[in-house]
């Protein structure tokens, strides 16, 4: 009964994913290849990691538009640390997650303690952080990442032999995604604070009455999001082998679109890891399909915008309908 229900909830979006995949592979057979799938995986790892953090934020009824500037900042710090401090992997990861967490903490404090609406608070931090990063880097690329780290980034977890001698493999960075998903899963599923995230999203007053501390939970959520962004920044830097301060312009929209597509409610309380991962996959497949079908990349933005508005509109329309048909009096 339990698994049955879970399946039903995410079923529609899985079906959409399948249908769209079929359409794309009919249009271009290159879609249904292992190479393409590994490609999609590699180029969307960062999006997937960040979607976990955004999911948590949206579960509390919040939103974060500063994620792209935070990952840029962390990537710059990471790059600097690699080049000037140490190319030790663990140290690098530590620097990245610490700086991400601090920035997330700042957002959390603004939202929980100063009661600034999340959209306005994160808009402000976005401007501050991005401004600082661009000032320090002057907007130019940072190259000269140590070989040791680049070598690490080239590693594959599993390789698949192919006919033409090329080695296809699951990139090492997949581990970061795995850690992000497992950590998110652990928090949401196994910890009391994780259930508190759902509880305050569902009924904040009751949650408070029950003994949860909403402010603390909100601060935690934004800090954890920063932590995940730290992981994403390391994965990103090891894939790109350089730091481009402009790489993430507008990226927050993609993260939000993927999470919304995965069924998370913008009003908080509803959303699952599985749903979000499928949402991310769907989003990536659509993007990949646009490329494979030679549709200009500008369409991507149009699609992102329409996905956000469309998903929420459907959500709203359904909610209104249930509200309208609610029985108010048990008529004799």
């Amino acid at each position: 009964m339990k698994t049955k229900l879970l399946k039903i909830k995410e079923l529609p979006i899985i079906l959409i994913l399948i249908v769209i995949s079929i359409i794309i592979s009919v249009a271009n057979p290159a879609f249904m290849t292992l190479e393409n799938f590994l490609d999609i995986l590699k180029s969307n790892l960062v999006l997937a990691i960040m979607s976990m953090g955004m999911l948590m934020v949206m579960l509390t009824g919040g939103i974060d538009v500063s994620v792209s500037s935070v990952i840029t900042a962390v990537a710059v710090i990471t790059g600097y640390s690699l080049m000037h401090w140490s190319s030790n992997l663990l140290f690098t990861i530590l620097v990245a997650v610490l700086s991400g967490t601090v920035m997330g903490l700042f957002n959390g404090l603004l939202i929980a303690k100063l009661k600034i609406p999340p959209i306005v608070a994160t808009l402000g931090t976005m401007s501050v952080i991005l401004g600082l990063v661009l000032y320090i880097t002057n907007g130019t690329w940072m190259t000269g990442i140590p070989e040791k780290f680049i070598d690490f980034g080239r590693k594959k977890l599993i390789t698949f032999p192919t006919g033409d001698g090329k080695a296809l493999g699951i990139p090492i960075q997949f581990l970061f995604l795995l850690v992000a998903v497992l950590a998110t899963w652990f928090i949401l599923r196994k910890t009391v604070i994780g259930r508190g995230i759902y509880a305050i999203g569902g009924n904040r007053d009751s949650a408070e009455r029950m003994g949860f501390k909403p402010d603390r939970i909100i601060i935690f959520v934004y800090a954890f999001e920063g932590f995940l962004i730290g992981l994403a920044a390391v994965a990103h830097t090891s894939i790109m082998r350089q730091v481009d301060p402009n790489a993430f312009l507008g990226f927050e929209m993609q993260v939000i679109a993927a999470v919304v597509l995965g069924g998370a409610s913008v009003l908080g309380g509803y959303g699952s890891i599985l749903g979000t991962l499928i949402g991310v996959s769907l989003f990536c497949v659509i993007n990949n399909g646009l490329i494979l079908m030679h549709i200009p990349t500008f369409w991507q933005k149009i699609v992102v915008g329409l996905i956000i508005i469309g998903s929420i509109s459907i959500d709203m329309t359904q909610k209104k309908r249930t509200e309208r048909n609610k029985t108010r009096v048990d008529v004799e």
Partner: protein, 494 residues
């Protein structure tokens, strides 16, 4: 009967200007179902909030709980003393599973870091077993019917080891079948030694299940009776036997129809509503809370349009599908919840009074004539005797009676044909109440048709010419308000 679980002595509660409870004293035993009875505004909710620690009573009273004597409770103390309240909205989480709704509180209270799903499953299954019901623990609460959600709320209080369970109008949105099931469960809890405080308006239900009745009236304790000491009629007369006497206005029979409601029905709201309102008449619409009175009023005013039925104003058919349509046609609606629906509290008296008159105040240029607006405001403030006489005053700072006068002014300014007032004197002190009665009566004399929704029967009898009684979404009967008593109406409404 078991031993005394909780005893109240001399419990009073004063709100600014209103004495909500006065020297309440009674006790509840383990293993009994104790009904708390009274009309709207009798003080039941206030008493529950004191028991659950939400309100602190005035000093001087005592609550004796398990041998301990305290003046008041905090919410935490109430929980630790194992008092659980199931409010009408249940305070549950629609997005969490049945299991978590029942058992998550334990983890929070124990300051656990990790969720022990196995323990949660055990706790919630135990609680549901005690109730003798089977629910899938992993179902999301929001997917359940209201009746099942209520059972989850009860299970949650069992999981919290509640010894006193307070049920606030638990049957108001249940079907007859569901009510029967709920009563079975209440019986079994009682047999296990739990005390239940049961609040309901429905006399047949009260007699079906209660061991004792405690009656409140106007914040005063009337008495506690065993179930065999009273019959329905006695109970009703104890409930409604108010000491407050309103001025009874002479009744008129009017003949010229103003508004005719024909065959109004809306699924899940009301069915086959028919009545006629005459010019210069005050028509009372009464019945229990949840009988569909407000729903009918909102349907007429276009807030909650009916699925079928027609509306005739001055003999001509009109369709009010939005409040905008209704206002244009000459309707006005003073809603029940003054603070959330009637007034923009953060704005001034002037802003609120002129809200309905912006078109008239602006004319062709669409710019508001500030002088005219000031005049209009002054005019109505004077006519309605709104105090203090400061048009710029923010309405949240006014007293309840003055706030209501602002809302009524806003509507009278539109020169309506039909005025619908929903519980117009709720939370207003007695002096201001008679003022509003006088005002409504004067308006009727000038030819306005008024529909007044009120749970307070003396109010209806004092000012209405006729009264229509609703029960479960239908109009059961109509009375001409002369030579009838509250008991006549009550016996139809229950």
């Amino acid at each position: 009967m078991g031993q005394t679980l909780i005893e109240l002595k001399n419990i009073s509660k004063t709100f600014p200007g209103v004495k909500a409870l006065e020297n309440i004293g009674f006790s509840i035993d383990s293993g009994e179902i104790h009904a708390l009875i009274g009309e709207n505004g009798a003080g039941k909710s206030t008493l529950i909030k004191i028991l659950s620690g939400v309100y602190q009573p005035d000093s001087g009273g005592q609550i004796i709980l398990g041998g301990r004597v305290v003046e008041s409770l905090t919410p935490l103390e109430a929980l630790q003393s194992e008092i659980a309240v199931i409010y009408q909205d249940f305070s549950l989480f629609p997005n969490l599973s049945v299991m978590e709704n029942i058992a998550l509180e334990q983890s929070v209270k124990n300051n656990d870091n990790l969720v022990d799903w196995k323990a949660m499953e055990r706790i919630s299954r135990d609680a549901l077993d005690q109730l003798g019901i089977s629910l899938d623990l992993n179902t999301i609460l929001g997917d359940l019917s209201i009746a099942k959600q209520q059972l989850v709320a009860i299970a949650r209080s069992l999981a919290n080891n509640a010894r006193l369970l307070i049920l606030d109008e638990p049957t108001s949105s249940l079907s007859k079948n569901e009510v029967r099931k709920l009563f079975d469960i209440m019986h079994s809890l009682k047999n296990k030694g739990m005390a239940l405080l049961f609040i309901s308006h429905k006399i047949d239900e009260l007699f079906a299940i209660s061991d004792k009745f405690t009656i409140l009236r106007d914040g005063k304790y009337i008495g506690t009776y065993g179930e065999d000491e009273l019959d329905d009629e006695q109970l009703i007369s104890l409930m409604v036997g108010r000491k407050i006497e309103y001025t009874i206005y002479p009744k008129n029979k009017r003949t010229e129809p103003l508004l005719e409601v024909r065959g109004f029905s809306k699924k899940g709201n009301f069915r086959d509503i028919n009545f006629t309102l005459h010019k210069g008449e005050i028509l009372g619409l009464t019945g229990l809370v949840g009988a569909g009175r407000t729903e009918v009023a909102q349907a007429i005013f276009g807030l909650n349009p009916a699925d079928e039925g027609t509306l005739l104003l001055d003999g001509k058919e009109i369709i009010n599908s939005t409040p905008n349509d209704a206002v244009k046609a000459g309707f006005s609606f003073v809603p029940e919840n003054r603070l959330q629906e009637g007034l923009v509290l953060s704005k001034s008296i002037e802003d609120n009074i002129s809200l309905t008159m912006l078109d008239a105040l602006s004319g062709k240029s669409s710019l508001i004539n500030l002088k005219k607006r000031k005049e209009l405001t002054r005019n109505w403030m004077e006519k309605m005797d709104i105090r203090p006489n400061i048009p710029e005053m923010i309405t949240s700072k006014l007293s309840g009676g003055n706030q209501q006068r602002v809302v009524i002014s806003k509507w009278l300014a539109t020169d309506p044909k039909v005025l619908i007032v929903d519980e117009p004197t709720n939370g207003i002190d007695i002096g201001a109440k008679s003022g509003i009665h006088q005002l409504l009566r004067d308006l009727a004399e000038k030819g306005l048709g008024i529909i007044i929704i009120s749970s307070e029967l003396p109010e209806i009898l004092a000012i209405a010419d006729r009264v229509a009684v609703m029960r479960r979404g239908r109009i059961i009967t109509e009375f001409f308000c002369e030579n009838i008593t509250q008991e006549d109406i009550m016996s139809k409404a229950l």
